[in-house]
Symmetry: C2
Subunit: 328 residues, 2 copies
C-alpha cells in the first residue's frame, strides 16, 4: 500500500477527522488504492454498532437521529452519522434543512457526519455505504447511525446491512400503516411512531402492534413499538435506553453471516466484471452499429444483446495450465 494511505489510516485511528474524511472520499470515489485501504482496515473492524434509521420522507428521521446522537454523545460515546440522500439537483434545500437540524451536534468533536448520494455511487450504493460504515468503525466510532429514506429497494438494502433497524413512521402519513408497504417492515427491529404529539399517534401505534401480532408466529419475539416527539421530547430517552441496551448486547455478539458475505463477494466481483465488459464492448464499433440498426427499425435490443454476447466469452483459467475456452 502507498505510504500516503498508510499515514492517513494511522492518523485516522488516532482520531484525526480530516484523515477520516479523506479516506472515505478515496473509497467512495473508488480512487486508486481504495481496495488496499479496505483490506488494511478490515481485520480490526466489528467493534462499532451500526444502527439504521429509516422511514418515509417527512417522518422526522433527521431530527430524531439528532436527538439520539446528542444523548449518545452526552454518555461519552463517539459517533459516525451517514445520511443517505436521494440525490437531486433540487435537494439543496432538503440537505440544508437536515444540516440545520444537526447543527448543534455537528461541531462536537465526538461526531462525524457524512452525506451520501444515492445516485451514481460508483461501487453501488449498498457496497459504498457498507465501506463507509467500516471506515467509521475502524476510526474507532462506538456507534454508526445510518439514515435512509426507506422506500426504494436500494435504500432497504443499505439499511439491512446495519445491526439494528429502527423504522420511523408518523401519524398522518397518508393511509396510515397501509403506506408502510415498502418491504421495510420485515427488517425493522423497532417501530417508532414519531411526532406523537399529533392526533392519531395512538391509533397508529395500535395498528402497527396489531399487524405485528397478526404476522408473527406464536412464541416469536415481536419488535417493540414506541412513541416519540422531538417537539415535546416525549419517549426519546426511552428509545435511547432500548438502543443502548442493544449496543451493549451487540458488543458480546458476533460475526457476519455467511450469506451476507457471499452476497458481498459476488457483488464486488460483478461490479468489476461489468466494468470490464463495458470496456470490451465499447472498444470496437459493434455496439454503435447495433444501435444504428435498432434506431432505423431494423433490429431490437434483445437480439442486439444476444449478438454482442456471442462475441464475449467467459473463460476460466486453471493455474499452471494453458487458458482454454470452456464452452467445450
Amino acid at each position: 500500500m502507498e505510504e500516503r494511505m498508510e499515514t492517513l489510516i494511522r492518523e485516522m485511528k488516532n482520531g484525526d477527522q480530516r484523515s477520516l474524511a479523506r479516506l472515505i472520499s478515496c473509497v467512495e470515489d473508488r480512487q486508486a488504492g481504495w481496495k488496499d485501504v479496505m483490506k488494511s482496515i478490515y481485520p480490526g473492524i466489528g467493534k462499532a454498532c451500526v444502527l439504521g434509521i429509516t422511514g418515509s420522507p417527512g417522518a422526522g428521521k433527521s431530527t430524531l437521529a439528532g436527538e439520539i446522537a446528542r444523548r449518545f454523545l452526552d454518555r461519552g460515546l463517539s459517533l459516525g452519522i451517514i445520511a443517505v440522500d436521494p440525490s437531486s439537483p433540487y435537494s439543496g434545500g432538503a440537505l440544508l434543512g437536515d444540516r440545520l437540524r444537526m447543527r448543534d451536534i455537528s461541531t462536537n468533536p465526538g461526531v462525524f457526519i457524512r452525506s451520501m448520494a444515492t445516485r451514481g455511487a460508483l461501487g453501488g450504493l449498498c457496497q459504498a455505504a457498507r465501506d463507509v460504515m467500516r471506515i467509521m468503525d475502524a476510526a474507532g466510532k462506538d456507534v454508526v447511525l445510518i439514515e435512509t429514506v426507506g422506500v426504494g429497494q436500494d435504500e432497504i438494502e443499505v439499511v439491512s446491512a446495519s445491526d439494528y433497524v429502527v423504522l420511523v413512521t408518523f401519524p398522518g402519513q397518508g393511509d396510515g400503516i397501509q403506506a408502510i408497504k415498502a418491504g421495510v417492515m420485515e427488517i425493522a427491529d423497532l417501530f417508532v411512531v414519531n411526532k406523537c404529539d399529533r392526533d392519531g399517534a395512538d391509533v397508529m401505534a395500535s395498528e402497527i402492534s396489531a399487524m405485528l401480532e397478526l404476522s408473527s408466529e406464536a412464541g416469536q419475539e415481536r419488535p417493540p413499538v414506541m412513541m416519540t416527539s422531538a417537539f415535546t421530547q416525549e419517549g426519546i430517552d426511552d428509545l435511547c435506553g432500548v438502543l443502548s441496551e442493544f449496543i451493549n448486547q451487540k458488543k458480546a455478539r458476533g460475526k457476519p453471516q455467511r450469506d451476507h458475505v457471499r452476497n458481498e463477494v459476488l457483488g464486488l466481483l460483478e461490479r468489476e466484471m461489468v466494468g470490464m465488459l463495458r470496456e470490451r464492448i465499447m472498444e470496437n464499433g459493434k455496439l454503435e452499429s447495433a444501435l444504428d440498426a435498432i434506431l432505423e427499425g431494423k433490429g431490437d435490443p434483445y437480439s442486439a444483446a444476444e449478438e454482442l454476447m456471442a462475441r464475449v466469452h467467459l473463460v476460466r483459467s486453471r493455474p499452471g495450465e494453458r487458458k482454454e475456452d470452456t464452452r467445450g
Copy 2:
C-alpha cells in the same frame, strides 16, 4: 419461435386478455422463449403512450390513477395499468386496498391491470417493467399507466422509462416540498398537489411553483402544477385534459433516444453475463472456501473478489479465428 407462443401473440393482438396475461408472465419470469416473444413484438410497438405516475406513499396515486383510468375509458381509449409495488410479506393489506380502489374499473374489458413486485424481478425491475409496457403496447392498448412509489432509485428509473411523468404530492406530506427530495423532481413533466381539499394545498402548490421558477433557466418551459382531489373531484378533468393533449402530441412524435437504447442493450448484456459468472464461480468450491477464510478472520471480501476475478477472464472471439485470451 414455438408455435404455442405464436398462437398466444396472435390471440393477444386480437384482444384476448388471458393470452396477454400469459405472455406477461412468460416474459416477467424469464421463461423459455421470453426473448423470442420480445423480438417478435418489438417491430410493432411505439403506438401506446406510457404515462408514469409517482410520488410518496400515501399521496393517493392509486385512487388518482383510477380516476384518470375511468375518464380515459369513458372516451373509448383502451388501457393497461402497471402497479409497481415494493414487495413485502406485509403488503397484502396495501395491495388489497389498491385493488379496492380500482375495483370499479377492473371489470371493464378495455382495461388490463398488472401488479409487479420490486423485489426479485428476474430481469431487473426497470427492464421487466419496460418489457411489460411493450407487451401492453403490442396488445393494442392506447395508454399504459405505470404507478410507482417514487423514492427509490429503481422506481425512479422505472418511471423515467415512460413518455410523461406525473409527480403526485399532497399537503401534510411531512416537511412539505422538502420531503420531495428523491431525484424525481427533475424527471417530472407535471406536478399534482392531490388531496387539495385539505389545508395547506395552496401553499404547497405555490412552493412547488416557486421552486420550479428558481431552478429553471430563462425561457425554459416549466412543468405545470395542478391541484386535484378524488374526494371533491376537483381538478381531475383538467388533469385528464392536459394528459390527453400530451397523448395526442405523442402520436405525432417519435423514436426512442439513442442513449436509452444503449443503456438497455448494455443492461440486457450485463444481466446475462452476471448470470453466467455466478454459475461459473459457484461451480467449483472456490467461493465457499473463500467465505470460510473470511468467517475465520483470515481474509476479507475485497481480496476474495479479487482472487476469484483472477480465475475468470473475459475473452473476445473473432469469427474465423482461434479464440485467444486478450490479456496479452
